[in-house]
Point group: C2
Chain length 323, copies 2
């Protein structure tokens, strides 16, 4: 097994070699652009790790791994239109740099390019790879749908929220790992347990993200702390706070939700309410419960000790962010 | 072989049985909606015909055939956003009935559903089917890109126009036929010649559409005659007219292109200019040249006489529209 950074370097080198521009049509400019914006490349890295875990040939998984990264970037491209996001990784989003029509159509072609890459595996793996990827792609669309729907709903429950983050982000983490397992001839049970490991770790990671958005150290977190509060985002923390609040607290919380004129005070007051309502602790408990599920799934996989330890360290490192 | 209407009935029955709504998420409402708007279902019909031609089991091709129709409808859904089209088959378009975000995301999930359906063939055909469909999907995106790009370009050439209609519409006709051939174990050469037959017939059909839009009988054509002229659409006729015009005629044509206030006079004057410039005849020649290429490809296919005749009659019937 290699260090995460080594896998990242391998992925980055592959992306640099990639011909995302098969013709000179400007249709492909946004594809090259969004892929050039970088990122941690965590999904293809997971595919390569999974291939390595089961003794597969990492190089044979490159194309499928990059396909997953392309699919992820396609979803970012379309999500950014829907969210009217001006920036992505500090750079203009595609619909801002070009226009909405370009973002729709370049996204569509990028989606097909992702399919081409993912399915350019050996034909003997094709059916399993395709079934996994198709289901995942559908679920990711469903997750984005729920996320948008929640914006206008006042009755989102915690289980619905967990279902949304599972579909929107975690299934693709599980898929990335299982893909690598399939390409390394892992048996079905191991591949499914590895999927579950990724799925649960993904949910834990997302809840952690909600916590860090409020309680994180801005310089380490890399995002504006309080961003979710300012956007009235229905995170685990807000939903739990609404659940826990007595009439008076609910009134106060609601009045801050309606206030868009005092950002600094809003972040401070809502954070204080969150703390008073014990939601940070409850969010952490929920996060650790999903972490525990991830580790339970990990233990079920038939792996030599050193490879088990590798994944355990990986999971622990991810959770280190809040410790 | 069955009558076209029988194949259409088979397709329609399959679409009615289709579970386009696998969960109760409203994400799937537009998918069910656009598929319910009807249409001639020509693409899946062609897949079934092709399967029948080579002695395949038509029922085994149902799912893949419907997948092609779903893909086609997905492209309509996204194209309608880009074209700001208010109506589709006389009914509100998805972005009008819902909103742009819904149209983007429901389109995306429909795209995946199309992949699932197309690739739910027997695994032994999977690689060939996937390679064909992936290439075609990419080409269709490229065609839509060119079509949009042409709107703002003043120097579109006839070969570029032919390339655009080939990518935007004809490759999917070729793909529909070749898909059926693959699923019926046809040999590669026959499958490719059948693809070419569809490709060239598709181009002929599209040029015919340009002609009918100007010279057709409104009651038979089913669209507003003169629509392309009013939209300044860069059809074969307009491009050829601009090519043929002398300075004075070019000036007159240009002044009508800039005039959006006198629709009736505009249609009449531009039609007269087209006739004076001999473009109807040239368009018909071009159309027949592609028809001839289609028949040449047809002749190369190893088919019993009655099946050859079936496809010949099909092609002739399509061309009958202008006769």
């Amino acid at each position: 097994m290699k260090d995460i950074t080594e896998y990242q370097d391998l992925v980055e080198a592959q992306i640099e070699k990639l011909n995302t521009h098969p013709t000179d049509l400007s249709l492909y400019d946004p594809v090259s652009y969004i892929l050039s914006l970088g990122g941690k490349r965590i999904r293809p890295v997971l595919t390569l790790i999974a291939t390595d875990l089961f003794g597969g040939i990492v190089e044979d998984s490159f194309k499928s791994a990059i396909g997953i990264e392309m699919f992820h970037n396609f979803t970012l491209l379309h999500d950014d239109i829907m969210d009217e996001a001006p920036l992505r990784r500090g750079m203009p989003t595609v619909h801002e740099k070009w226009n909405i029509n370009t973002a729709i159509l370049s996204g569509d072609v990028m989606f097909v390019q992702a399919f081409v890459m993912v399915t350019s595996c050996k034909t003997k793996y094709l059916r399993d790879v395709l079934d996994l990827f198709n289901v995942t792609a559908i679920e990711v669309c469903e997750g984005q749908h729920l996320d948008m729907e929640f914006e206008t709903r006042e009755d989102v429950s915690i289980p619905e929220y967990i279902e949304m983050i599972k579909l929107k982000t975690s299934v693709l983490i599980g898929c990335s790992l299982k893909l690598g397992a399939i390409l390394a001839d892992a048996n079905k049970e191991d591949a499914n347990n590895l999927y579950d490991f990724g799925l649960y770790l993904g949910i834990a990671f997302q809840i952690q993200d909600d916590i860090l958005d409020v309680y994180g150290d801005a310089s380490l977190f890399g995002k504006q702390v309080g961003g979710d509060i300012l956007a009235n985002k229905k995170t685990y923390l807000l939903l739990k706070a609404l659940e826990n609040a007595n009439t008076e607290q609910a009134k106060e919380l609601q009045s801050w939700l309606n206030d868009n004129n005092n950002p600094q005070q809003k972040v401070k007051a809502v954070t204080t309410l969150f703390t008073d309502l014990n939601v940070k602790k409850q969010a952490e408990e929920m996060m650790w419960s999903y972490y525990d599920k991830a580790i339970e799934s990990l233990k079920k996989i038939n792996l030599p000790k050193d490879k088990f330890q590798y994944l355990l360290d990986f999971a622990t490192n991810i959770m280190e962010r809040v410790k």
